[in-house]
């Protein structure tokens, strides 16, 4: 079975500060992988590293980054950009600023498509119309003529989804797709993702702080804390038998982790740390109810039948 994404040991730094450390994950073909964590846990950065979108000023290393079959560590910038453009659809957080405000939808939705398939603008617009109605627009032709700021948040989100699907990608990365939406629209959008995944057999990397959402819609998931994946595995395994104390606590306070960085969780005293994310000890040590002395210095990694967790406990 081909894996859509294979990420091993990602380490992202800003200058001397580590933001993401020792992060590995695998997105299997055709599955929805949920990446969960609080604000500031490094989820977006991890996703961006996979698609070569990290901002300038950050450096990164990894043992392996293979995205839709291409080794991102050895490919040239040109190759990377081309490959990602063809094979990955990116649906960002906060769509407001991601669509160019001075360009009509019809003039920006298809330019990636035209670039990679060398089809004409007319063909691109036809496909765009088709996709726009697929994502739920009743009159796609009107939408195409709008400027992004004339659309509501939910509408923009759906435009982004349609845009991401233009090239029939193998991988979609959806970063907090439901944050800016009201609950009815949220459900629509998530059902849409589910339908796309089942119909087109696309892999989806779903990033969210909403554990409940992830539980409902993903096949596998990974829990990130302070820049590290502390637990990962199939959704059912992780929810039925969470091994990491952090995961256990999170599950207790579903439905949502919509809390800002540095604000403590209601049941977990302390703050997510920004510094020393690359220390060898457990980063959850300060807040863990089951912490032991050894946790400060060393953490054991376990891998049991696709269930991964980093904890000194059994």
């Amino acid at each position: 079975m081909n894996n859509t994404v294979e990420l091993k040991n990602l380490h992202i730094k800003a200058g001397n500060t580590s933001l993401v450390y020792k992060t590995s994950l695998i997105v299997k073909e055709g599955e929805i992988f949920g990446l969960v964590g609080e604000s500031g846990s490094g989820k977006t950065l991890t996703a961006k590293a996979i698609i070569n979108l990290l901002p300038q000023g950050l450096t990164y290393t990894a043992d392996e980054i293979i995205t839709v079959g291409k080794n991102m560590l050895t490919a040239s910038n040109e190759e990377k950009r081309d490959h990602i453009g063809k094979n990955v659809g990116y649906i960002p957080q906060n769509t407001v600023f991601y669509l160019h405000p001075l360009i009509k939808i019809k003039n920006q939705i298809g330019d990636g498509y035209i670039q990679h398939t060398h089809k004409t603008k007319q063909e691109a617009l036809e496909k765009a119309e088709m996709l726009l109605s697929k994502v739920g627009f009743k009159s796609p032709k009107t939408i195409l003529n709008y400027y992004p700021w004339q659309l509501s948040g939910g509408m923009r989100q759906r435009c982004n989804i349609a845009m991401a699907l233009m090239n029939d990608p193998k991988l979609i990365i959806a970063d907090e797709p439901t944050t800016a939406l009201d609950t009815t629209v949220q459900k629509q959008v998530m059902e849409l993702f589910k339908a796309i995944n089942e119909e087109m057999k696309l892999s989806i990397l779903l990033i969210s702080h909403d554990l409940g959402l992830v539980k409902r819609y993903s096949h596998s998931l990974g829990v990130m804390y302070a820049g590290q994946i502390v637990e990962a595995g199939s959704a059912s395994t992780v929810f039925d038998e969470p091994k990491h104390p952090y995961t256990q606590l999170l599950i207790k306070i579903i439905p949502s982790l919509n809390i800002k960085k540095n604000e403590p969780l209601t049941e977990i005293p302390g703050f997510v740390q920004d510094k020393d994310r690359d220390s060898q000890g457990c980063l959850f040590y300060n807040r863990c109810p089951k912490a032991m002395d050894i946790c400060r210095v060393k953490v054991r990694e376990h891998m049991k039948e696709d269930h991964y967790y980093r904890c000194n406990l059994e």
Binding site: R81, Y90, F97, H100, L102, D111, G112
Partner: protein
């Protein structure tokens, strides 16, 4: 939208009104009787009195202002005492010269500023960036006449490729026309390019930081699309406004360059008028030039508004 335009038009007219007052009354302070200046030192007092009366110099100030203003609107700006010709025709003859160098200079400045401004923003802190930033600083500090003189020596005399004086109107051949305005326009351009480059660079830097750039990159678009369709498009508002302002400013600031290169434009007329205290000519010139400035500024403001669809639709309801 119409009401926005009308509003701006109204402001412009008020400004012009203030300008006319300033122009008229300031120049009235000049001691000496204009009639006497015209007739010369050995004119008889009766002749002076007669001409004064004919010129309406004995009427109260505000009446003279009003009749001057009314004449202006009929495009009658009186007769220059230095040249003995109607001011209107003097100005009309000089317009092509000044406007040619202003427009050509602006074109050069725009090309250089956009080219280097964009490259500088895209490759921040590279050699090109430092080079551009030096242009920015030097451009505004170098006096135009100094550069003018230097260029005359090198291009005009030593290398003999470009003429150093005189204006060749476009009817006599496009190539000659361009050659005759090249150096003076270059000199003017050097003065403007610094400011424009700075604005282009900073607007581009802002635009490049925007999220839509991420989208463009993820889609795997080529350089041209990324930097022009996305980055530049989001960076045009400020530069366009500045270009308008600079063009307007150039309309009135060509005196020095025209003097060095012996071009018979509006600037030279102004100098002559000032040197000889030819009030009539000066009044007409100042009103004309300033009106051009106000008018160009108005057009630019409206264009910028139209250009930005958000602002346009904001005003569309009006």
């Amino acid at each position: 939208m119409l009401s926005y335009v009308l509003d701006r038009l109204k402001s412009s007219l008020v400004v012009l009104f203030v300008v006319s007052i300033i122009t008229f009354f300031v120049l009235m302070i000049i001691p000496g009787n204009p009639a006497q200046l015209i007739l010369g030192t050995d004119a008889t007092p009766e002749a002076i009195a007669e001409l004064s009366s004919a010129m309406g110099l004995d009427k109260p100030l505000y009446q003279r202002y009003l009749s001057w203003l009314l004449d202006l609107l009929k495009l009658d700006m009186g007769k220059s005492y230095v040249y003995g010709e109607s001011v209107t025709s003097l100005i009309a003859r000089s317009i092509p010269v000044t406007f040619s160098i202003a427009i050509f200079a602006m074109t050069m400045a725009v090309i250089i500023a956009f080219l280097f401004g964009m490259l500088s923003a895209i490759k921040k802190n590279s050699i090109i960036d430092y080079f551009s930033r030096s242009i920015m600083q030097l451009g505004t500090a170098i006096p135009s006449f100094w550069i003018g003189m230097v260029l005359i020596v090198y291009f005009g005399v030593k290398l003999k490729i470009l003429p150093v004086s005189g204006f060749v109107p476009i009817e006599r051949g496009f190539a000659h026309f361009i050659k005759s305005i090249f150096l003076p326009s270059l000199v003017l351009a050097i003065g403007e390019v610094g400011t424009l480059l700075r604005i282009v660079r900073s607007s581009m830097l802002d635009s490049l930081k925007q999220d839509y750039m991420d989208m463009a990159r993820v889609k795997g678009l080529g350089w041209g699309k990324i930097y022009i369709k996305y980055a530049l498009r989001g960076a045009l508002t400020a530069p366009l406004t500045i270009i308008g302002m600079q063009l307007a400013k150039l309309a009135g600031g060509t005196t020095v360059v025209e003097t060095i290169f012996a071009l018979p434009g509006l600037g030279r007329l102004v100098l002559t008028a000032v040197e000889h205290r030819d009030i009539v000519l000066l009044q007409g010139l100042v009103m004309f030039i300033t009106s051009t400035v106000v008018f160009v500024t108005l057009i630019v403001d409206i264009l910028v508004m139209l250009f930005n669809p958000r602002i346009k639709s904001f005003h569309q309801g009006e």
